[in-house]
Symmetry: C2
Subunit: 407 residues, 2 copies
């Protein structure tokens, strides 16, 4: 069995690097803090006799030797970077649970058949370098190494420059080592497990996501003398779009349709001016690709309709699309077996958020394990998972990894 | 008859003071530009033999003597200050049409029974010192002189300091001179006259206005893993509120119900985060006070309803209320007579916007005259009124003033 207290202590020790005022963490990708976090992890792993290498985009592969080192390793991991005001668990739990697996095996002098690999993916959050999950995406071939190295943060510093500066520009080719399989433990970042009093989410895949930038252009006008029927109110059109999309998504009793408008800006807003131009973002998600297609069509139709209703010109651009991911059945089954054997209350579920596992699943059999987080809150200093839940997740990870490495 | 070309030339000359890149004007209240505009007007008026005085808050009263200078003067005027990117007509037309009345009377050696007074009210726009119409409001007793002098602009400069610096701090007590009556010519700032091919709006009053600051507080959450039914989406609630208010206002076939949401901000907005907190402004207007009461009640009820529907806490504060104004029937009748005699296509109408006449009407019989402005646009460099419409408005002003001063 893994040591839940030891896992908790390592989580709290990592949180000392880049602490924020309200108990969260700030370790933006490829900063000094990110490097210090990696260094702490490497110190711990080196003391266990592990070896490591870094690829050209900073992905860190920490190896625990097996009996058959000619075979591809069974891998686990996640990310150590955080949001600017992030929590202590998002990503970090998946990495430090991997460390706990190594420590547990060392305590018990267990050597697995296949080698094990603990992976720290660079810049998962996407808050320093957009998009999110860019380095696991590059590993999996979704982005070129050159384009990733050239991405710039808000200050114009490139990914490549930041990588050099923080000392984690490696030599190892991107895409190596090949992995036998990959397991990622993560907090759910949603409320379902907590509400349903379940400890483990056996993650069978990741819902599809599509991001849109929308512009509505009407005519700004004085709020006082302009009769309603003469107006071309861009915000009124936007409000109806949002309301119609909400109503549609809420009517889906399966709960699988998700629609979010996260950003909305009125150009030159003023209290007594009818808004002439509004920009907004739309995030559409669904667990079934064809349903996501239908959702996108409905969104596009509604956008045209509200434009016509309010005399407003509309345009939209799809800036990102991540297809529905189905994880490898054998990896999901390994997670489920471990969960049952530990008698943990659990459910099969799709991940609502993107994770490094999304891209890794393109090149290796993959699965994920979720544990509850308080009030479903993440990307927030208040993010919290209990020591018991962290330990339960790490135990399932350990069991699934060992089973897989010894098969 | 007034000289339309001379009026136009003076409008264009005034627009040379504080010109903006796209053909508009920037003469913020109590700046050097405002002072230069006043000086130009005074030069013109002094050459006609007018006298003038300034009150303690910078309101400028320019007098053309009558036969009976013991009687209260018949007054006209508006404001010379502009929005930061304002137009050449909003306010200015009402002042320079008054100048044109003086010039026309001088050309024809006419001396009226009562004296005439051309008034330039300080800081009508409210864009340097909030609120709008503050100096005519102080003249009429709605605000104390001390509170007006203490109002600060965004840089912390007080009204009083700015008044001293620009040289228009006068000695004359606020509230003097008493006026026999007041007539304000203004561009409509809306589309009705243009759409209906009418030249003159005979303004019978000003609709009531109420301003609200609204806050909706739900819970921010990750857009991906948070099912719709668990969300407390502050923006979804705001969108439904706006849509319901729009639908209500549009359903009023009289066109008298006006609802505007001009500002809306999402706190810590992010594309993949369900908005946790939204602030917005609501501007409600109606020409009938009891209907405005009912509109406010409906708004308050809808706000509570959308809060309940979306699990969002709501609060609102009414920050300004201007009751419905009915102008003096005898002044409105004078305007209407002049309009008919000049055979101008016209309509009786309520003003949708607030003007200095709103406050002046509390202490003197008042009326307003509107002329069309292109596309109803104002508070914008593109604001435009034709020379013909400006001249028609000035002629009606002249006729009404002379009739009133000789009655
Ligand atoms: N885990 C996470 O926040 N991923 C970012 C992409 C998403 O919005 O799902
Ligand atoms: N004329 C004008 O813009 N007044 C400001 C107050 C209002 O919004 O009506």
């Amino acid at each position: 069995s893994i040591d839940g207290q030891r896992l908790w202590d390592s989580l709290m020790a990592m949180a000392e690097i880049g602490p924020t005022a309200n108990g969260g963490s700030c370790r933006l990708a490829l900063t000094e803090e990110d490097a210090a976090g990696r260094r702490l992890l490497l110190d711990w792993c080196e003391s266990l006799g592990c070896t490591w290498r870094v690829d050209r985009i900073g992905n860190l592969f920490i190896r625990r030797a097996g009996k058959r080192d000619d075979l591809d390793p069974v891998a686990m991991g996640s990310h150590l970077d955080t949001q600017p005001k992030g929590g202590r668990f998002d990503g970090i739990l998946g990495v430090l649970a991997g460390l706990e697996v190594f420590r547990t095996l060392a305590d018990q002098d267990i050597v697995t058949e296949r080698p094990l690999e603990l992976v720290v993916w660079t810049n998962e959050e996407g808050s320093r370098f957009a998009p999110a999950m860019v380095a696991s995406g590059t590993y999996a071939g979704a982005f070129s190494v050159e384009s990733t190295l050239a991405r710039e943060d808000r200050d114009g510093v490139t990914f490549g420059e930041a990588l050099d500066a923080c000392g984690y520009a490696g030599e190892s080719p991107v895409g190596e080592p090949r992995l036998d399989s990959f397991f990622e433990l993560h907090i759910e970042q949603g409320p379902v497990l907590e509400e349903e009093h379940e400890t483990i989410g056996v993650v069978t895949g990741v819902q599809g996501m599509r991001w849109f930038d929308v512009t509505l252009s009407g005519q700004s006008a004085h709020a006082g003398p302009t009769p309603m029927r003469y107006r071309r109110d861009a915000l009124a059109a936007a409000a109806r779009l949002i309301d119609r999309l909400q109503t549609h998504a809420l009517a889906d009793e399966s709960g699988d349709t998700k629609v979010t408008c996260g950003c909305l800006d009125i150009v030159s807003a003023s209290r007594n001016v009818v808004p002439g131009e509004v920009t907004l973002t739309i995030d559409l998600r669904h667990v079934v690709e064809s349903e996501l297609d239908a959702l996108q069509e409905r969104f596009e139709r509604l956008l045209v309709e509200v434009g016509e209703s309010f005399g407003v010109t509309v345009s939209q651009e799809r800036i990102w699309a991540s297809p529905v991911v189905e994880f490898a059945p054998e990896c999901v089954a390994a997670v489920e077996r471990a969960t049952r054997e530990r008698a943990q209350p659990h459910r099969r579920m799709m991940s609502g958020a993107g994770h490094d596992a999304v891209y890794v699943s393109r090149v290796a059999p993959t699965a994920m394990i979720f544990v509850p987080c308080r009030d479903g809150i993440s990307h927030n200093e208040a993010e919290y998972a209990t020591p018991e839940h962290c330990a339960a997740g790490a135990q399932v990870l350990c069991d699934a990894i060992v089973e897989r490495a010894n098969r």
